[in-house]
C-alpha cells in the first residue's frame, strides 16, 4: 500500500511533460500520422482533400493515443525506480520515415519517432544503488514502452472481436509496428537501451514481442497469443544462452 501511495505522489509531482517534450511529441505525431495516412488521400491519382484530412485527423488521434501509452508506461516505471524520464524526438528517424513514405508511396511505414534520456533522482533511490544511472535500470524502463504498445494492441484486438472497425484495425497495426520498430537496437530507440541493459532480457523481449505481433496478425486468440509469445520468448532466450551467451561468458 505504501508503495502505491509513493508512486501516486511521484506521478503527481513529476509526471508533467516539459515544453520541449510537448513540441517534440507534437512534431513526431504529425509526421508519423502523415506517414500512416499517406495512402488515404483518395483513390489512384485522384486526391480527395476532405477524405484525406479526415483520415489524417484519425491518424493523429491514433498516433497520439499510442504515443501517450508508450511514453507513459516508460515514464511511470522510471518514476517507480527513482528516475525522471525525458522523451525526445529523433530528427533523422522522422525525416527518413518521410522519405521512405514518398519513395514507397506510403506502402511501407518507417516509424522511428525518438527515444528518451533519464535524469537521476538520488533522493528517490534510497535503498537502491543511487550513485548514478545504471544500464540495467534504463534497459527495463525502455522495455516498458514496446510492452505497453503490444498490450495496447492486444486490448484493441479483443475489442475488435466485438466491434469491427477500420479505425481499430489501424490502431492494432500501428501499435504492432511501433512496438517492433522500438525494438531495433539503433540508438536512440528503446531497443538500443534494452540491448545495452541486458542482452539476455533483450533477446527474450524481442522474440516474445515479435511472436506476439505475428500471432496478432494471424488472428490468434488473445490467450494463445500471450502464452505462446512468452513460451517462444523463453525457448529462444534459452537457446541464445546455450549457443551464444554461455560461450561469451565462459569461453569455448
Amino acid at each position: 500500500m505504501r508503495e502505491i501511495v509513493d508512486v501516486q505522489d511521484k506521478i503527481k509531482r513529476y509526471y508533467t511533460f516539459t515544453k520541449s517534450e510537448i513540441k517534440g511529441i507534437v512534431i513526431s505525431v504529425l509526421v508519423i500520422a502523415f506517414i500512416i495516412s499517406f495512402r488515404d488521400w483518395g483513390h489512384g491519382d485522384q486526391i480527395d482533400l476532405i477524405a484525406g484530412l479526415f483520415n489524417l485527423l484519425n491518424s493523429i488521434l491514433i498516433v497520439l493515443l499510442s504515443f501517450i501509452i508508450h511514453i507513459s508506461a516508460q515514464r511511470i516505471w522510471s518514476l517507480m525506480t527513482g528516475y525522471k524520464l525525458e522523451w525526445k524526438m529523433w530528427g533523422f528517424g522522422l525525416m527518413a520515415g518521410l522519405i521512405i513514405a514518398f519513395l514507397t508511396n506510403g506502402k511501407f511505414w518507417l516509424i522511428l519517432p525518438g527515444g528518451f534520456v533519464v535524469h537521476h533522482m538520488a533522493g528517490h533511490r534510497l535503498g537502491w544503488f543511487r550513485y548514478g544511472i545504471n544500464w540495467w535500470a534504463i534497459g527495463l524502463i525502455a522495455l516498458m514502452g514496446p510492452l505497453a504498445s503490444i498490450i495496447f494492441a492486444l486490448v484493441f484486438k479483443a475489442i475488435s472481436g466485438i466491434i469491427i472497425n477500420s479505425l481499430i484495425t489501424k490502431i492494432i497495426a500501428f501499435n504492432v509496428a511501433y512496438a517492433l520498430y522500438s525494438l531495433l537496437p539503433i540508438p536512440p530507440l528503446d531497443g538500443s537501451r534494452m540491448f545495452f541493459g541486458s542482452r539476455m532480457t533483450y533477446v527474450f523481449s524481442v522474440f516474445g514481442i515479435i511472436s506476439a505481433s505475428a500471432l496478432i496478425s494471424l488472428n490468434a486468440s488473445i490467450g494463445i497469443t500471450i502464452i505462446s509469445s512468452i513460451f517462444i520468448g523463453f525457448v529462444l532466450w534459452l537457446l541464445y544462452y546455450v549457443f551464444i551467451e554461455h560461450k561469451l561468458w565462459f569461453g569455448g
Partner: protein, 116 residues
C-alpha cells in the same frame, strides 16, 4: 591477420572517401527510385535529404566537418546521376535549401532532438 590489419588501417585512413562512394551509390539508388514516380517526388525527397544533411552538419558543429562535406556531396552527386525527370539545377538548389533550413532550425533551438 596482417592483411586484415592493413585493410583496417586503410579504412581508418580513408573512411571519408570510402563513405563517399558508398553514399554516392545510395544516392543514385534513391534518385532512380524517386524518379520512377515523378519529378515532384524527386524534389521532395532531395529537400528532405538536405534536411538530414543539415542535421548532420549541425551535429558536427565545432567539430571536424570536412569529411562530412565530402560524404554529403557524394550523396548529392549520386542523386544527380540518377535523376532523369526534373531539373538538376532545382535539385541542387532544393538540397542546399533543405540543408540550410534544417541547420537553422536546430541552430536557433526551434528543434531539439536526440542524435543517438
Amino acid at each position: 591477420m596482417v592483411r586484415r590489419i592493413r585493410m583496417a588501417s586503410f579504412f581508418f585512413r580513408s573512411w571519408a572517401e570510402f563513405s563517399f562512394f558508398v553514399i554516392m551509390v545510395f544516392g543514385f539508388t534513391v534518385s532512380i527510385w524517386a524518379s520512377s514516380h515523378s519529378a515532384a517526388i524527386s524534389y521532395i525527397v532531395i529537400f528532405l535529404s538536405g534536411m538530414i544533411a543539415g542535421r548532420l552538419l549541425y551535429d558536427r558543429k565545432q567539430k571536424l566537418t570536412i569529411p562530412y562535406y565530402i560524404i554529403i556531396s557524394g550523396f548529392l552527386i549520386g542523386f544527380l546521376f540518377g535523376t532523369y525527370y526534373g531539373s538538376k539545377k532545382v535539385i541542387i538548389v532544393l538540397f542546399v535549401l533543405g540543408t540550410l533550413f534544417s541547420y537553422h532550425l536546430y541552430n536557433k533551438g526551434y528543434l531539439k532532438d536526440l542524435p543517438y
